[in-house]
Amino acid sequence: MANLLGPNNKLKHIINAQNISYSYGNETVVENVTFKILPGDFVALVGPNGSGKSTLIKLLLGLIRPSHGNISLFDTDVEKFNSWEKIGYVPQIASGLHANYPMTAGEAVSLGEYKGFDPLRIFKKTKNSNVENALDIAGIPHLYSRRVGDLSTGQQQRVLFAKAIVKKPEVLILDEAIAGVDLHGEEQVYSLLRELNEQGVSILIVSHDIGAVIREAKTVACINRSLVFHGDSHTLTKDELATLYGYPVEVLLHDALHEHR
């Protein structure tokens, strides 16, 4: 795969959240979280259901406003941030993936190439090498002309993944984005994430697969409303995981497919 980008040496933080809190009505779901992602980081965000992981991701992306605290993206306040081509976001599901939506995988991925208002975009050819390359990297080049709504959940998630990487982002944020992908596909995605990270792309991944993310990520952030651990993935102990989930957690790191650790 071609080198996507080089690290930006002048950049201090990809994401910098300081003391952020967020409440749904009277219920506080994210409380006083300070969270940073530096250039080249590979961070896994883990925690039980309802712990505030997805809310934290939405806060970091400026999709919702924190009730307290400050967030900056690429050293710019999130409210003023406009270099969205630097960010690739892969949600677990998109509302446009229902069966009736008339959009091919190629069209969906080409949406990811959006770089601002262009009045003549509709007349431009949508099939291009970037889209084909992204689908190829995601392992689904044969699905270019297939309707996204007709694809399986795992295939749809790969389409969203291809949509996120087609614009060659500097940070890739995956919110439980490979939950529906099969074992072979999961290995492909992690392999790609490692490769992207080695090329300088920062990664933030939310997952319930503790073993996989601890194995793959450089650092782990554990959240249960507030941040209970943030450090090197290998220093995370069983006791800290038990505290996080409320019951003993046994993590199996052995995987015959992996030779890098």
Binding site: G62, Y89, S95, T104, Y114, G116, R121, S152, L160
Partner: protein, 284 residues
């Protein structure tokens, strides 16, 4: 509005009112489904029905107060469209609930206003059921302007509209000004409802906005193909509906709507047949 037997002694195109009806019908049939695409994809198809009922209230207010009914109607529909969009996008309530609240409250207001005021029931009747055969030259010019505005806006903002319809959060993270796009779509929908009501009436105006695209999305797997086919289906429905109403003595608006629904049924049957005849999908 129906034809008389004397009308049918002449060729359909020999009548001025028929020529205007065909031009108006083709225009609306072509542009309304293009706009309707982004209402269907965002799962707010019934907004056209709701706004048509708001238009009825606006029209009643305009006629009672004797202040430019079309302008009052447009302002009322715009305000309702923006309010619905605000409630929907802020997650204050589900889309269907927001639409139902606006529909029933404005319908109630219309009934009270119409019942307590004398003198304009005939006008309201024609707006309820449409009067495509009564279009005048001004109506055609307004429709032409509206069609041009809708086509230009959809072409220019196609990518932004497609992104927003695909997923609002993903669109925001791509840098699309989702709020502005939604607001623009709401105003465009309001204008379409207000100035197209004359053709299809309050009760059927949504048919040409929504049904042709639902048929189009069954025919094509890609968005542009679905929109293009919806436009063709909409215009064809208008022509066939008007011709049918001329020769079979049917209400024009109802005939157009029935033809559009027939296209929808044929499209769905075609898609099912193609799926049955093609090989099973190769999932892995």
């Amino acid at each position: 509005m129906r034809f008389t037997s004397t009308d049918k002694d002449m060729s359909i195109l020999e009548y001025d009112f028929m020529q205007r009806a065909l031009v108006g019908g083709i225009l609306m049939g072509a542009f309304a489904p293009v706009l309707g695409t982004f209402l269907v994809l965002r799962r707010i198809s019934l907004i056209s029905d709701t706004l048509a009922h708001v238009a009825l209230l606006g029209l009643a207010i305009g006629l009672v107060t004797n202040i430019w009914p079309n302008i009052v109607t447009f302002i009322s529909v715009c305000a309702a469209a923006v309010t619905i969009e605000f409630m929907r996008s802020r997650g204050r309530m589900p889309s269907d609930v927001a639409l139902a609240i606006v529909l029933y409250s404005t319908m109630a207001g219309s009934i009270v206003l119409i019942s307590s005021t004398q003198g304009f029931r005939i006008d309201l009747f024609s707006f309820l059921f449409g009067s495509i055969l009564g279009l005048n030259n001004s109506d055609i010019w307004i429709l032409l302007l509206l069609a041009a505005t809708v086509f230009i806006c959809i072409f220019i903002f196609f990518s932004e509209l497609a992104q927003t319809a695909f997923d609002a959060d993903l669109a925001k993270v791509s840098g699309v000004p989702v709020g502005m796009i939604n607001l623009g779509l709401a105003v465009l929908t309001a204008a379409t409802i207000t100035f197209s009501m004359r053709l299809m009436g309050v009760l059927l105006v949504g048919t040409l906005i929504v049904v042709p695209f639902i048929a189009g999305q069954a025919l094509f797997d890609n968005l542009k193909g679905a929109i293009f086919s919806a436009s063709i289906i909409g215009a064809s429905s208008s022509v066939l509906g008007l011709v049918g109403s001329f020769y079979f003595d049917l209400p024009a608006g109802g005939a157009i709507a029935i033809v559009a629904v027939c296209f929808l049924i044929l499209s769905v049957v075609y898609r099912r047949a193609v799926k049955l005849l093609s090989k099973p999908a190769n999932h892995y």
